[in-house]
């Protein structure tokens, strides 16, 4: 049996988990192709016009998988990754949305709810639908989940050591990249790591000799510590993680500036925005929002990043010179 996994949204955070899980259960895993113009165009055409680009991209990937004659497309419903905290409503309604968009796709969708205590989504109770639907035994499922968990934790450990997710997903010998200045990049995995959608942003940084730190590279406990500052957490877990990371970046001296990469029309980010703009200014940390949508051009991204980081460099070296002068 072939299980298709769309290369979009949570793919970038959970692919090692999913791949191991399904393969250990004896299934073949097929991913959709890398995001391309044609995948995006299909998504734009089929999805609701007002919806954010990541959801359009996802829609495109689902159709791309249909062409690969898979038996199932795996579309889990992420409900909660921490008690009392949810996910962006679009994640919570993702299978409904896909079913709503395409007639007759129901039987092709493999879905279940994920209600978890943490980002470790390996709890058995979430997967019991597999037993009937995929005809696997409880025991095999438990074993597969354990293997998947180990694999995922391995991946996350490396990720938190500073390897970016694309390196980890695409290369056997992942590399870390350094630079003479460091940017804290705030953004969901699907905006940071989808090279087509963000005009290969990480590479832009690399060419400019800039080191990048992202939320997925942060230890959860650091993020949680920052979040304690807020009387009330936001309703969406990944948004909370971005918020906590951003406050950590504001306080850290080794971060020279913060860029918030966000999709046009992203609801949760619009609520985060006033907190980031107001408080990064208070912390005197250079801050910029980079908005991406289906029409974003490469030159736009490069120009903005260059302008922003040039300023940071000038400031940094000036400051260093004065320090040297004093000495």
């Amino acid at each position: 049996m072939k299980i298709g996994i769309p290369k979009a949204l949570m793919y970038y955070f959970y692919y090692p988990f999913w791949k191991t899980l399904f393969e250990s259960l004896g299934f073949e895993v097929v991913t959709s192709d890398d995001t391309s113009k044609s995948i995006l165009d299909i998504g734009v055409k089929e999805a609701v016009a007002e919806i954010c680009v990541p959801m359009k991209v996802y829609t495109g990937h689902v159709l791309n998988l249909l062409d690969k004659s898979v038996d199932y497309i795996y579309i889990p419903r992420f409900v909660s990754l921490r008690k009392g905290i949810f996910m962006c409503p679009k994640f919570m309604g993702l299978p409904d949305m896909i079913k709503g968009l395409f007639d007759g796709i129901e039987n092709k969708i493999l879905t279940h709810n994920i209600v978890s205590k943490s980002t470790d989504i390996s709890e058995f109770h979430n997967y019991t639908v597999f037993i009937d639907k995929l005809g696997v035994s409880r025991k095999d499922l438990k074993n597969a989940l354990k293997k998947a968990r180990d694999k995922w934790l391995e991946f996350r450990t490396l990720n938190k050591q500073g390897y970016d997710i694309n390196e980890l997903l695409t290369s056997d010998k992942p590399k870390k990249y350094e630079g003479d200045i460091t940017i804290g990049l705030i953004g969901y995995v699907y905006n940071v790591y989808d090279r087509f959608v963000n005009m290969d942003l990480l590479n832009v940084f690399r060419k400019l000799n800039i080191k990048v730190v992202t939320f997925d590279m942060m230890e959860e406990r650091i993020i949680q510590r920052q979040l304690k500052k807020f009387k009330k957490n936001m309703f969406w877990e990944f948004t909370n993680m971005l918020l906590g990371t951003a406050y950590e970046f504001m306080e850290r001296d080794d971060i020279d500036g913060i860029i918030h990469i966000t999709a046009f029309g992203c609801g949760p980010d619009s609520i985060v925005e006033p907190f980031l703009t107001i408080d990064s200014e208070k912390h005197k940390k250079p801050f910029m929002t980079l908005r991406i949508d289906e029409q974003t051009g490469e030159s736009h991204v490069i120009t903005r990043v260059e302008a922003f980081t040039d300023l940071i460099r000038i400031k940094k070296y000036k400051a260093e010179k004065t320090v040297e002068g004093v000495i």
Partner: protein, 365 residues
Amino acid sequence: MKITFPYMGSPYMYEKLFTLLGHEVITPPKPSQKTVDYGVKYSPEFACFPLKVILGTYLEALELGADTIVTSGGNGPCRAGYYGEAQKKILRNMGYDVEFIIFDEPKKDIKGFMDNVMKIKGKSSWAQVIRTVKIVYDMAKSMDKIEKIVETKRAYECNKGEFTKAWHEITEEYRRIESSEDVKKVERKAIERLNSIKICEVPEKEKIRIGIVGEIYVVMEPSINGNIEEVLNAYGAEVERSHYISEWIDFNLIPLPSYKEKEHKILKKGEKYIEIIIGGHAKQSVGAIIDFMERGFDGVIHLKPFGCLPELVSQSVIDKIMREYDYPILSLSIDEQMAIANVLTRIEAFLDVIKLKKHRKKIAR
């Protein structure tokens, strides 16, 4: 403490609540172009439209001297749950020293909730508080009952504008009540008043009934949705909404199962299309569409703020419902750029489709 609050539907219930508890109240003005301009100017560009308008409302109320904002934190999981916090951040940053009393779900933070209750209780006795809450609840129920009559009968008034005029006057009467008995009196008078308005009846077969569903703020606040109910009535269509404040109270604030039946029934009907509650009122919206359809309404208008997260999921399944049942549904996005003329044309076209459908049915019979 000069209290103000968001403006959604009639503000008189909140005004009554706080006044009867002995507070000084700054009732916010009805949202206008100025409100929208203020809100848009100071909110994040991609914030949802209700957040912007409510921020604009606060700014206007602050100009009028308010210093305390009372609002609900919403039971999420959607942006509205964080409106208060975000707006506080923005207003403080603008230099306003304003206090926010944000009511969150008591189960999450019972202490915070009780602290807030004590602030609102002020010097009143508990007996007074209970009496006040009862009066305001009766008032909400009663006003909704009268408004439902208006939304139905206004479609058939012989002289345009009579019902709207009467409704405005009636709400002013409600504004003056002091007790639950007063509520009953005003209600009786209101019904008499409405009954005296001349009606040009239409044969039952030709009556058009439209349901309005969607995100609660844009459904409930006529100044933001282009007075859609009045517009539909003027075209000769009866209207019913999926949200009424008294029903919201029943479902969210009264801890008795019998008060929640209606909402549960609606949610159940949405389940086939949206399995779980995903935030906002998406599942209710879809359930309400099915409900209106089953009750023989001729079509539904779905209102959502532009970019509204959960309602975009509803919209994705609405197309499917339209296909499946061949049922007319019009989805409208509302924001500061909405052009009324354009909306009117779309509504008109929508009603034409419905009339044509009805006509065909008649012939087929």
